[in-house]
């Protein structure tokens, strides 16, 4: 029999208690510590920080624990916490050229200053389930690399290309304040800084799917991975009253610079163009997808036709946020019976009118 949802505080309280019990799982199994999640689910933590727009591995790990491993729910917790934090201002731009790289690969040059550094990556692993991991075995310590002669200098590939004018110049810093989409609603057309913010916060799956679509002809950008680098950079802040930069600490970032073919236009000589991706921690898939979509969204600026979803900034920006998407999709489970009643009444009336009409036609036919 149909049983209506009973509201009330008791039902909500009981549901929350049940949730707490379900979150813990079998009490005979030891409870996860936040440190364990932070250290052993590090890529998940990185994703939550990236989409949560907050660099705090412990908080992201705690959010994952509370969210029972649901990424979007964890991002939600981090974002809701973030909005309650006081704002002191914006940091100085980080310089990824000075990054202490732990991984750096380029698909455009075989070797280059600073070298190719494979680092900790799933690339070239065979995806065979490692049953040894089911038993608590210590992993083999990593090999120590021989320091290269050019260690410590790791110029960006795009800077190397820019020296020859082969790639478009990076737009100069005009000193204008950068917009903040968490502080002002997006006004279309949104500039590139705002688009990149939206993509960085955007759902990895959604951005990945859009990026993939550009590779399959829906807004093709002819991309090459100029470079992916992962490592820590210093964050500095210039307090108004001091007037000079004060170091705040270091954050670990993944940066992807795509190099895209561009035939040139009437005004511009043929040269390579850029697509840019940046994420917290090690989030390569996200940074790469972001760079592809960033380049696709520059179609209008570069005089290319805007015909595909990934090139349409209203489409991309309005739908890439997992919290907005999940909230609105999931709100369908809230009661809608008032509106449904209105529709029920309408459908019944339309059906009655339809039957009347059919009967009239049948009677007329019978009379004839």
């Amino acid at each position: 029999m149909y049983v209506a949802v009973k509201g009330g505080e008791a039902a909500i309280d009981n549901a929350h208690r049940l949730l707490a019990e379900a979150r813990r799982g079998d009490p005979a199994v030891p409870e996860l510590s936040v440190a364990q999640i932070r250290e052993q689910m590090a890529l998940l933590v990185d994703r939550v920080m990236t989409e949560g727009s907050l660099y705090d591995p412990d908080l992201a790990a705690l959010a994952l624990k509370q969210a029972r491993g649901d990424v979007v729910e964890a991002v939600f917790l981090v974002r809701a916490y973030r909005t309650t934090l006081p704002r002191f201002g914006a940091s100085a731009p980080v310089d990824t050229g000075t990054m202490a790289v732990e991984r750096r690969v380029s698909a455009t040059f075989k070797d280059l200053p600073g070298g190719q550094v494979l680092g900790p990556t799933f690339d070239y692993t065979h995806r065979l389930v490692d049953f040894a991991l089911a038993a608590d075995t210590a992993s083999e310590p990593a090999a120590e690399a021989e320091p290269r002669a050019d260690a410590g200098t790791c110029p960006r590939v795009t800077d190397l290309l820019a020296q020859d004018g082969l790639i478009e110049a990076s737009p100069p810093d005009d000193g204008a304040p950068v917009g903040d989409l968490t502080r002002e609603p997006v006004d279309y057309p949104a500039d590139r800084a705002l688009r990149l913010q939206a993509l960085a916060r955007g759902d990895e799956g959604f951005v990945l799917g859009l990026a993939y679509s550009t590779q399959r002809g829906y807004g093709r950008t002819h991309p090459f991975v100029g470079e992916i680098r992962v490592g820590a950079v210093a964050v500095e802040f210039v307090p108004e009253e001091l007037g000079f930069a004060v170091p705040l600490g270091r954050v670990r970032l993944t940066e992807c610079q795509m190099v895209n073919q561009f035939k040139g236009s009437g005004a511009a000589a043929p040269q390579f163009t850029r697509g840019y991706g940046l994420s917290f921690g090690q989030s390569e898939r996200k940074a790469m997808a972001m760079a592809l979509v960033d380049r696709a969204l520059r179609a209008e600026e570069l005089g290319e036709p805007v015909a595909s979803p990934a090139q349409d900034q209203e489409f991309v920006l309005a739908h890439c946020d997992s919290l907005q998407a999940t909230g609105f999709v999931e709100h369908l489970k809230l009661p809608h019976y008032v509106d449904f009643q209105a529709e029920l009444e309408l459908v019944r009336r339309l059906r009655a009118e339809f039957e009347r009409k059919t009967e009239t036609v049948e009677m007329q036919e019978a009379a004839e």
Binding site: G7, E9, I12, E330, L334, D339, E343, E345, L350
Partner: protein, 327 residues
């Protein structure tokens, strides 16, 4: 046999134990409870006791930003003012816009009522009311007549609103033209030019297909002779209540980041045609609990063999009428 007796799961005291009608706030001391008001739990400083958050959750800077948007919305009735909606501790689509508007206007002496589908005890209404009781400590009520601020999803109370009241709507899609034109850049221009022909065409297509307009909720209205506005997904039954209403009506769309307003005593006209005037839903039977006619009714399925009953969606007026009849 009374209508309530038809339902196998309602039991003896049907009127108090309908699904979705369990009284919450049950532990409240009796005099306040009898008046429907839950006592304020403010500390001496006026902050909610022990919540650890600012009064009504939002920080003061955010409140200022929302308040400025509200003032603009009032000055340009029906125009959607962009605002920097914050991430709230409840999901987008669950009332974050209404919650932010309520948080920005709420003061210590307010009495808050929250309804969803017309009812005070639907889960989301309970959740939002609790949120404000916890973070602001203001008094809450289920009685429409006692409330100074009413936050609602999908209904306007049947009890006529008065000058001292503010009705805050939760809005999912604030743009009435959205399903005719998905692009924000386009709809903004259409509003700027007051170009609403497409909306009339859409309604007229209904008429040519069905003989009447087939929009039953979120029925578009024209406000003060200028902007076409989405009334939120209230059934069109409620549209006439918006017209010339003594209360201030505020609309908050959190995910879409828009606030709009209808000041008191403002003309709100449901779009229609001379030969097809606007008409609201009519129910053939009265409420099975309180006997009211002319109220919006919910259809409750009572068994698996086609049994139905119709009861008021506005729980407050229904309970008040049942209590009066019992006296």
């Amino acid at each position: 046999m009374s209508a309530t007796g038809m339902s196998p799961f309602l039991g003896g005291s049907a009127s108090r134990e309908l699904p979705g009608r369990a009284p919450d706030d049950a532990q409240v001391p009796s005099p306040e409870r009898d008046r429907g008001i839950v006592a304020s739990v403010l500390d001496a400083a006026g902050n909610a006791r022990g919540s650890g958050y600012n009064f009504a959750y939002l920080d003061e800077g955010t409140k200022r930003m929302i308040r400025r948007a509200i003032l603009k919305a009032i000055a340009v009735p029906g125009y959607q003012v962009p605002f920097a909606s914050r991430e709230m501790p409840m999901p987008y689509g669950w009332g974050t816009g209404g919650v932010q508007v309520t948080a920005a206007i709420l003061g210590q002496s307010d009495v808050l009522k929250v309804i969803d589908q017309g009812a005070d005890d639907t889960t989301n209404a309970v959740s939002i009311r609790r949120f404000f009781a916890k973070t602001s400590g203001v008094a809450t009520t289920t009685r429409t007549t006692e409330a100074t601020v009413i936050q609602t999803r999908h209904r306007i109370p049947e009890t006529p609103l008065t000058e001292g009241q503010i009705l805050v709507y939760q809005v999912p899609i604030p743009e009435p033209l959205r399903f005719l034109e998905p692009r924000e850049t386009e709809t903004r221009q259409l509003h700027a030019l007051a170009e609403y022909g497409a909306m009339h065409v859409k309604l007229y297509e209904d008429i040519s297909r069905h003989g009447h307009i087939a929009t039953t909720y979120a029925y578009p209205v024209e406000v003060a002779g200028r902007y076409v506005m989405d009334p939120s997904p209230t059934p069109k039954f409620d549209n006439p209540k918006m017209d010339d209403c003594p209360a201030l009506q505020l609309f908050g769309a959190g995910r879409e980041r828009r606030i709009y307003a209808v000041p008191p005593y403002t003309r709100v006209r449901s779009l229609d045609f001379e030969d097809h005037p606007f008409r609201v839903q009519e129910f053939t039977q009265p409420c099975a609990l309180c006997g009211a006619r002319g109220h919006y009714l919910d259809e409750v399925v009572t068994d698996d063999s086609g049994g139905r009953m119709f009861i008021c969606s506005d729980t407050d007026i229904c309970e008040t009428r049942v209590a009066e009849a019992a006296r």
